[in-house]
């Protein structure tokens, strides 16, 4: 096990135990800025941890970030670890990030689907879903990005428990999803929700379950354009952007549609690198370049949230 967050290799993929241990070190070493909250437990009883970055205040406006809801998308958990560390190292040095954290709290769930993540390390590297049992089927798991109460069960998801996009028996049936729902709703002051996926290099926003433009479509689109331009400036990585339904396909029951429908205006989904050569098997040498460029886009969005609180 790592003995401190300084000896952790950010350019390598890690197991859930290593990531959880690193999180503990980060909290121990930065007690005035970072704390760890358990928002629930997974189907297989693993703790669901959220890092809270806060400089004080009571129930400040907040930005939620999650990585790894699709467990096989390893670049996202790795980017999450790097990003959480970046927040700590840049606070007090980078004026813009410091101003963000002096205004809002950041909640960061790095391993959003811990059962699936553990399963990708032990048994099936290509596992995407949760690991819950489905009554009447030999196939396990639910797609946690089709399990939200936003157009739940529509044609942009599957009713087949064996399918990768199985929506589950009911909205929020997955404890991994329900825990976030309960936390975000009870917090009541979350202003942005950024759900980080991979791959295919896209920045998407609501809606996915219906064709009509979101009421804030123009603002979300303009901000997405700025964010992907900032991202591309570092390594030339090209992103497309737009509403989910216009950019890729109809998708029902997704995280960001739920958050938008629940009053969180700045709801975005990232699809990180790459363009198809490696997919979910992106070499570890690309973790840091991916995280670095993603950071620039995240900063654009977080700055906009800071300056446009509603």
């Amino acid at each position: 096990f790592e003995r401190s967050s300084n000896s952790f290799s950010f350019s390598s993929y890690h197991t859930i135990e290593e990531i959880y241990s690193w999180m503990d070190n980060l909290v121990t070493e930065n007690p005035d800025l970072v704390s760890k909250i358990q928002i629930g437990q997974s189907y297989e009883k693993r703790p669901l941890y959220v890092l809270k970055f806060s400089t004080g205040g009571v129930n400040r406006p907040a930005i939620w970030i999650d990585t790894g809801i699709h467990s096989r998308e390893w670049i996202t958990q790795a980017t999450g670890v790097w990003t959480a560390n970046k927040i700590v190292t840049e606070y007090g040095k980078d004026a813009s990030l410091t101003a963000i954290l002096d205004t809002v709290d950041i909640f960061f769930e790095i391993v959003t689907n811990p059962d699936g993540f553990a399963y990708t390390h032990s048994t099936n590297r290509m596992w995407r879903k949760t690991r819950s049992i489905n009554a009447g089927s030999s196939c396990r798991g639910v797609d946690p990005n089709r399990n939200w109460d936003a157009g739940f069960g529509g044609p942009g998801s599957s009713s087949n428990p064996c399918a990768e996009t199985y929506h589950g028996p009911s909205p929020h049936s997955e404890s991994e999803v329900k825990s976030i729902v309960d936390f975000v709703l009870s917090h009541g002051n979350v202003k942005a929700l950024l759900s980080i996926h991979s791959y295919s290099q896209m920045l998407l926003f609501p809606y996915g379950y219906k064709a009509e433009p979101a009421p804030d479509h123009q603002e979300l689109n303009d901000l997405a354009r700025e964010a992907v331009a900032a991202l591309a400036a570092l390594h030339g990585t090209k992103y497309t952007y737009g509403s989910t339904i216009d950019t890729i396909y109809r998708a029902d029951g997704t995280t960001t549609d739920w958050s938008y429908d629940n009053g969180i205006k700045y709801s975005y989904t990232f699809e990180l690198r790459d363009t198809g050569r490696y997919g979910f098997l992106l070499p570890a040498s690309q973790i840091i370049p991916t995280a670095e460029e993603t950071w620039l886009a995240l900063m654009k969005i977080m700055e906009h949230v800071r300056d446009n609180l509603y």
Binding site: S11, T123, N124, T165, I248, Y278, A284
Partner: protein, 93 residues
């Protein structure tokens, strides 16, 4: 532990809605065990599919007989997984 020896990832480019529909139907054939990494969405957007070794011939014949172009992006998934595992072990050391 599940192995992926001989599995390939194909990048498929459907040129019209009809081909998209064919790819969706292909995905529903459970015995083929196709794992869409990028699902069939709309013409012009790539489709990436991990195809188990035992289904490779059937899938390629299906694509070619329907004149749906594809390229192989990952020759052997297990080789990449082995590389990944080795990189993690080296890093840990």
């Amino acid at each position: 532990q599940k192995l992926f020896v001989g599995d390939q990832v194909l990048r498929i480019r459907a040129s019209n809605e009809e081909q998209i529909a064919l790819l969706r139907e292909l995905g529903k054939l459970e015995d083929l065990q196709i794992d869409y990494w990028l699902s069939p969405a709309q013409p012009g957007l790539p489709v990436d599919a991990r195809v188990p070794f035992h289904s490779l011939q059937a899938v390629k014949v299906f694509l070619e007989s329907n004149t749906i172009p594809y390229t192989i992006t990952v020759d052997d998934v297990q080789e990449l997984l082995d590389e990944e595992k080795e990189a993690m072990m080296v890093s840990r050391k």
